[in-house]
């Protein structure tokens, strides 16, 4: 479970202050698939970064799986990221110098798994995204959709509770976007909680919950649970 209470985030640069999140409140339950929409600059990425422990917040309360995130130091946040969170980025962020196998290996090394365990997890997750036959390929030898699948395999390899995705289909054509979306839905069905920022209204509708961020606030919360309807 992820609970944010009155989270504020103020970016302070030399001469300007940006209030990116204002009294942001949100509770994400196990198994949710949440899509986050909102205008550019409204604070979606800021929210996702804070939720994924990439950024700290100015004030408020944030607990992740019962743990008070505000009290963690950089090391603690890094470890928690590695254990509980998987990230998928708009531009895939694969390491260009490493082949697919080694790319998926990266977070597993940080966790400290032994070689056998890592190999098993890498193979299983590349299999899961349908790319087990290309383990020795470099990212540059793949299409965008395939690269994003590898990124998803990498995010899942550590068995995270939460998968956070910032416009994961933003750099893909619609066909590839559909494929990635289907994969995310499948992963969600298998139990991983997903929070996905997207510009695509149609994809957003496919989530179990949709929230909208405006001016740093959760402006509208459609508690339209598909599971509830279905």
């Amino acid at each position: 479970m992820l609970v944010m209470k009155n989270i504020n985030k103020i970016f302070q640069t030399a001469d300007i202050q940006t209030h990116a999140l204002r009294d942001f409140n949100l509770t994400v339950n196990e198994g949710d698939f949440i899509s986050v929409t909102g205008p550019s600059g409204s604070g979606k990425t800021t929210f996702l970064n804070i939720a994924g422990l990439l950024e700290t917040f100015t004030d408020g309360e944030f607990t992740l799986d019962g743990k008070d995130v505000g009290s963690l130091n950089d090391n603690g946040r890094s470890k928690m990221r590695n254990e509980k969170i998987g990230f998928v980025f708009q531009s895939f962020n694969l390491i260009p110098d490493l082949n697919l196998f080694d790319n998926v290996d990266v977070p597993l090394r940080y966790r400290g798994f032994n070689a056998k365990e890592r190999k098993a997890r890498i193979e299983a997750n590349l299999e899961r995204v349908g790319l087990s036959s290309r383990m020795k390929h470099l990212p540059s030898q793949l299409s965008g959709g395939q690269q994003q699948r590898v990124a998803i395999a990498r995010a899942l390899a550590t068995d995270p509770r939460f998968l956070l995705a910032d416009e994961p289909t933003g750099n893909l054509d619609s066909e590839m976007a559909q494929g990635v979306m289907s994969l995310l839905e499948e992963i969600n069905k298998q139990g991983t909680t997903i929070i996905m920022v997207t510009h695509d209204a149609e994809l957003a509708q496919r989530a179990s919950r949709t929230i909208q961020v405006k001016d740093g606030r959760v402006s509208e919360l459609e508690i339209v649970s598909k599971q509830a309807i279905a």
């Binding site: 970064n49 890094s78 470890k79 590695n82 531009s91 962020n93 390491i95 490493l98 990266v106 940080y110």
Partner: protein
């Protein structure tokens, strides 16, 4: 978990920069190790004892210009006066000064004749006060007596029948047992016999670069010359005080001569090794400069590659890397580059040394020295990469989502 394999594979995709730095490390190692070796070689040469009581000895040149001047009588008078001055231990007339760069050498041989093997030695003409004035140590046999001292006319080719030689010379003449040299005869000027009556511990030749620098002999001669050198030993710590006193004593006792070039043996040593010291300084500067350039090269390459990989580093942080794991990545990367560098460098160092040995007749380099260079460059590499690695560790995780 160490990620050596991943670092290595990533490195192999960006070979050029890494390889250039590795080669720079290799070059630095090869030059550093050989330069240190050359410095050590010189330091070792400079640390050899001359055999003299260097701190308490000085010498001067006595030049006579008067015509009615009994050189033989005057030499005795001079030496007598100097020896009897309070503060003076002893004094002699001598033909050459050790380490000064100028002097005599003669070829000696076991058998008389003009087709025999010879061995060279520096030659010092002194009287029975020679041992005491120079401050050398007689370790076997005996000193000359007053009766042994002969007058040598300038240009004469006659030699006295006795000599005292250094241990190093005795060892060369009688490798089995240098002590057996006492009482033995060798030949000078091919046919004139000379008997070894004493062995001194050490007395260096005037030429510090000569391979036979430790071979010297004393010959019991006074020189009948208008131009001669006096070598004077003072009581410990009184040299500087006695130098002007002796100069004044000689100058005032006889107006038909001049006293010139009063200098200490320490000055002579310094002048003798001026080139050595200068060369060592240059080599040291080369070592430091090269090391700094390599260090900065490592810093530069690391900063460049970190700037290029900002987003990747942010992504690694987002995937759970701690700051220390990021730092360690770049330190490990440097270690890999350095390893390639020192392997090539060690081969280069030995090859360069091999060439130096062949060209300049140096001795071969020691394994310890190469090992020292290897460790030094590993340390330099790790220190150089510390700051860039620290900067990489400071790259915020949000870079992963904030940059395109």
């Amino acid at each position: 978990m160490l990620e050596t394999g991943l670092i290595f594979r990533a490195l192999m995709r960006n070979k050029i920069g890494a390889l250039l730095i590795a080669l720079q490390i290799a070059l630095t190692l090869a030059i550093m190790v050989n330069a240190i070796f050359m410095i050590q070689d010189r330091n070792q040469q400079m640390s050899r004892a001359s055999g003299l009581d260097e701190a308490n000895t000085f010498y001067l040149t006595n030049t006579i210009f008067g015509d009615n001047y009994n050189k033989q009588v005057n030499l005795q008078t001079d030496l007598h006066a100097i020896r009897n001055t309070p503060g003076i231990v002893d004094a002699i007339q001598i033909n050459a000064i050790p380490l000064s760069g100028g002097g005599w050498s003669m070829s000696l041989q076991h058998e008389p004749g003009d087709d025999k093997d010879t061995i060279g030695s520096a030659l010092y003409m002194v009287d029975e006060h020679g041992i005491n004035s120079l401050g050398v140590e007689l370790i076997a046999g005996q000193n000359f007596t007053a009766q042994d001292i002969q007058w040598r006319e300038s240009g004469s080719t006659k030699w006295p029948p006795k000599t005292i030689i250094t241990q190093a010379f005795a060892e060369q003449l009688y490798p089995d047992n240098w002590r057996s040299a006492i009482g033995k005869t060798f030949y000078i000027s091919q046919t004139q016999p000379m008997q070894i009556i004493g062995v001194m511990k050490a007395l260096q030749a005037p030429w510090n670069g000569w391979s036979g620098v430790e071979r010297s002999m004393l010959v019991p001669f006074h020189m009948d010359s208008k131009n001669s050198r006096y070598f004077i030993r003072t009581e410990p710590g009184r040299r500087d005080e006695m130098m002007p006193i002796i100069e004044k004593l000689l100058a005032e006792s006889n107006k038909e001569r001049i006293i010139r070039r009063v200098s200490t043996v320490e000055e002579t040593r310094q002048r003798s090794y001026q080139r050595h010291n200068a060369t060592n300084k240059i080599l040291m500067t080369v070592i430091i400069t090269l090391t700094l350039i390599t260090g900065f090269g490592i810093v530069g390459l690391a900063i460049f590659s970190i700037n290029r990989r900002t987003k990747q580093i942010g992504t690694r942080r987002a995937l759970g890397a701690t700051q220390w794991q990021i730092m360690r990545y770049f330190m490990m990367e440097n270690l890999l580059i350095s390893t390639v560098g020192v392997v090539i460098g060690s081969i280069g160092a030995v090859a360069l040394n091999y060439w130096l040995v062949k060209t300049f007749n140096l001795s071969p380099i020691s394994v310890e020295l190469v090992l020292f260079g290897v460790i030094a460059l590993f340390v330099v590499g790790q220190l150089a990469v510390l700051y860039p690695a620290r900067r990489a560790a400071m790259i915020p995780p949000a870079t992963a989502t904030r940059t395109i």
